[in-house]
């Protein structure tokens, strides 16, 4: 007890030195507090964002890996230019045969415990006829659209589940419409998030096999179609094969606008030319098309292909949280998903993107914290060495009087701890008050830097600054319709266009965790600087000190 009393007396009677130590610790504490607050804010933002986040996951084929595997298999073949040759036909066949998962397989993975909900959709391209034309700016397209669509469509069939709009554009097929069949209303994310709204009639009955559909208002106006009218869609590969759908509803889609027209003339990529129906209804059409299909030979390439309507199946798994997502990735592997398939989640990607500035700042704050603590600890050690040397005589007297060395050290340690803790408390107070504005100011700079980087990339691509495209430029990604591709999927080439909504402000940075961390820092600084004092005290010989003094 007297040790603590002595410590307090000594603190009070060596004010100058202790104020100096206090000021240094205060500066360290404020800096550390801000640093820790930034890190805590990043953690809070993460957990708060995650709490409100429903994770959707998709399974996609790893095309890049398949290509690499194919190249390594054909290692011996060298092309004319001396580089390893790549057999495109073989690759196309391989992709067509092995890349697509069947609905049964998708359903099997949906049985994983972590899956909260599961939905799927199928999309296919159709052509119109003279009575039902796609919305288009191109006046010539009306004449051409039904004739050219089947020329090359088989060629790139190997692409695994690209969005139907992209697929058509990539393969050069210029079909008129994209028909998407949904397994449930949960899958119709554009209606759930409000991008699309029914303005006339109603949505088709969930799960119906009746050929009912909803079309966009633009398409309805363009063809003077009203609810309960019938539209006819043709197989792009066989113009003699057509199917009738009854329009039960008309919707508006805010993502449909002038800029969404394809520069390639593939009108099916325009959101206005999207037709929605139930999965069962579209599947019935696809089944019928399969039954009526013929095998024909392409005059140019000599390859054989089926006239069956090509479709793309995609499935989305709804998961409660990130932990469930992580569990899901393990479970599907256990259920037999091959390593050549990737599991991805666009929600996690966008969530991670939104945290980029805060994460960067948090990382910088971490480095800053380490530097501050290191420099602070060194300064405190040096100050304590001077302090101990200055009080050598006192140590000699106390030990000569019979005070044990460890008790002397304990008194010195108490002094350092008391000064440190007072300075840390004041520092935490000041740091706590200033951490939010300082963090926000730093975050603002970070977001500005991030946005500037984004704008630079946008400019490089010839796009205007600060625009967040509703649809992703040429090809209109239509991410709401094809959730499977939201994360880029094979090739991951859409990510560059994604615009993250960065977290640019925090409301609260200080909490109990930061307080405890600061207490930990205070104890750490005391131990580090006190350890040096202890070493010196233990080394001192009272007789020598007093003899030198005499």
């Amino acid at each position: 007890m007297y040790i603590i009393k002595n410590a307090f007396k000594c603190i009070g009677r060596s004010r100058g030195r202790n104020i100096l130590i206090g000021v240094i610790v205060f500066v360290i504490a404020v800096s550390a507090c801000i640093g820790l607050s930034i890190r805590q804010a990043a953690e809070n933002a993460k957990s708060e964002t995650l709490e409100g986040l429903t994770i959707t996951a998709t399974i996609s084929f790893d095309r890049q890996q398949a290509m690499n595997d194919m190249i390594s298999e054909d290692n011996g073949d060298i092309s004319e230019n001396g580089r390893p040759s790549f057999d495109r036909d073989k690759f196309s066949d391989f992709m067509g045969e092995s890349s697509s998962l069947t609905l049964d397989e998708y359903k099997k993975y949906a049985e994983a415990e972590s899956v909260k909900d599961f939905y799927y959709s199928v999309s296919a391209s159709f052509n119109g006829n003279d009575d039902f034309l796609p919305v288009s700016n191109d006046t010539t397209s009306e004449d051409e659209d039904t004739s050219n669509s089947n020329e090359n469509s088989f060629g790139m069939n190997g692409f695994f589940q690209p969005p139907e709009d992209k697929r058509n554009q990539m393969m050069g097929a210029q079909s008129d419409f994209t028909v998407v069949g949904y397994s449930s209303e949960s899958a119709m994310t554009s209606f759930i998030d409000g991008t699309a709204t029914i303005v006339d009639g109603a949505v088709f009955t969930e799960g119906t096999t009746d050929a009912e559909c909803i079309i966009s208002q633009e398409l309805a106006n363009y063809n003077s179609i009203e609810v309960s009218d019938t539209i006819t869609l043709e197989n792009p590969n066989n113009e003699d094969e057509s199917y009738e759908f009854t329009v039960v509803g008309i919707y508006t889609d805010s993502s449909s606008n002038e800029s969404s027209f394809s520069i390639m003339g593939a009108t099916s990529t325009d959101p206005a030319n999207k037709i929605y129906t139930s999965y069962a209804a579209l599947q019935a059409v696809l089944d019928a098309s399969g039954e009526n299909s013929e095998t024909v030979t392409d005059d140019d390439t000599g390859r054989e292909f089926s006239t069956e309507i090509k479709s793309t199946l995609s499935a989305t798994y709804l998961l409660s949280d990130v932990d469930s997502y992580n569990k899901f990735t393990e479970e599907v592997r256990e259920l037999g998903l091959d390593e050549s398939y990737n599991i991805s989640s666009s929600d996690i990607s966008s969530y991670e993107s939104s945290l980029v500035p805060l994460e960067t700042l948090s990382k910088l704050a971490g480095y800053f914290l380490i530097v501050v603590l290191l420099i602070g600890a060194i300064i405190l050690i040096v100050l304590n060495i001077f302090n101990i040397r200055e009080r050598k005589y006192e140590i000699g007297v106390l030990t000569a009087m019979g005070m044990k060395k460890f008790k002397v050290a304990l008194q010195f340690l108490t002094e350092i701890f008391v000064v440190t803790i007072i300075a840390v408390i004041v520092g935490v107070g000041v740091g706590g008050v200033s951490s939010v504005p300082v963090t926000n100011a730093l975050l603002e700079n970070q977001v500005a830097a991030q946005s500037s980087e984004y704008n630079r990339i946008e400019q490089n691509f010839g796009r205007p600054e600060n625009t967040i495209p509703d649809d992703m430029g040429p090809g209109n990604m239509g991410q709401n319709d094809i959730p499977q591709m939201q994360n880029g999927g094979p090739g991951n080439f859409f990510d560059a266009n994604e615009v993250a909504e960065y977290i640019s402000e925090i409301d609260e940075a200080m909490n109990l965790t930061v307080m405890f961390q600061m207490l930990g820092i205070a104890i750490l600084l005391t131990i580090v600087s006190g350890a040096v004092s202890m070493l010196f005290i233990m080394r001192y010989d009272p007789l020598r000190i007093l003899a030198n003094r005499d």
Binding site: N6, S14, A400, M401, G402, P542, L546, A547, R549, D550
Partner: protein, 218 residues
């Protein structure tokens, strides 16, 4: 029975012998004076007696026990009271605090330590206002009195004093020597280290150290 006895004590600083085969016995109720010229080893002997230095050979017995078997901190803080030549007070503390600190170190359990300390300081001639003064603001004589009060604070049986009158005027010297005499008369063993014949003359016994000599003169 001797309270403190030296048996064949030898001590050297590295290769320089200082004390050689010193034997002596100190009894309660007597005042001793260790005298000798400069460099004879007076302060060294005092350091050995106070447990601050270890002899190269020989033994020191406290009340029949070898002090090697007694914890050195306990020996210094409880059994022996040392008054150093330069007083060795904690300068940032007051006279009173120095005395109380000494009691605390000795583990002295008394409720009214402050009263006891004030009483002790009063007994050596310091009033309350002087007792509450920082030691640096006291004169040399007053600091000497504080050092004596501190040595007495935990009722040690042996009081060691190194040149207790060295820096004092003759009047204060007499007062301080009177205090030591009263301590010896109260049953304590008082051992003074001095080169002053006047101080030696006031003691019951004197022990003269001769440089490098084997035998000391009584």
């Amino acid at each position: 029975m001797a309270v403190l006895s030296l048996n064949n004590i030898c001590f050297s600083y590295k290769d320089t012998p200082v004390l050689n085969d010193v034997s002596y016995e100190f009894e309660r109720g007597k005042m001793y004076c260790i005298i000798g010229k400069s460099g004879a080893g007076k302060t060294t002997l005092l350091s050995i007696l106070s447990g601050l230095a270890k002899p190269k050979s020989g033994s020191i017995m406290y009340d029949g026990r070898d002090i090697k078997k007694i914890d050195k901190y306990k020996f210094r803080s409880k059994y022996i009271g040392v008054i150093f030549q330069s007083f060795n007070l904690i300068t940032k503390f007051t006279a009173l605090e120095n005395v109380i600190l000494s009691m605390n170190i000795a583990g002295y359990r008394q409720r009214k330590k402050r009263d006891k300390a004030l009483e002790l300081l009063k007994s050596v001639g310091l009033d309350e206002s002087e007792a509450n003064r920082r030691v640096l603001k006291l004169s040399g004589g007053q600091q000497q009195r504080v050092a004596i009060a501190r040595a007495l604070s935990y009722d040690a049986e042996i009081i060691l004093a190194d040149e207790p009158t060295g820096n004092l005027d003759s009047e204060t010297q007499s007062e301080i020597m009177a205090i030591f005499r009263s301590l010896a008369d109260s049953g304590k063993c008082v051992i003074l280290v001095s080169h002053s014949p006047e101080v030696a003359a006031l003691c019951d016994e004197k022990y003269e150290l001769i440089k490098y000599s084997k035998k000391a003169k009584k």
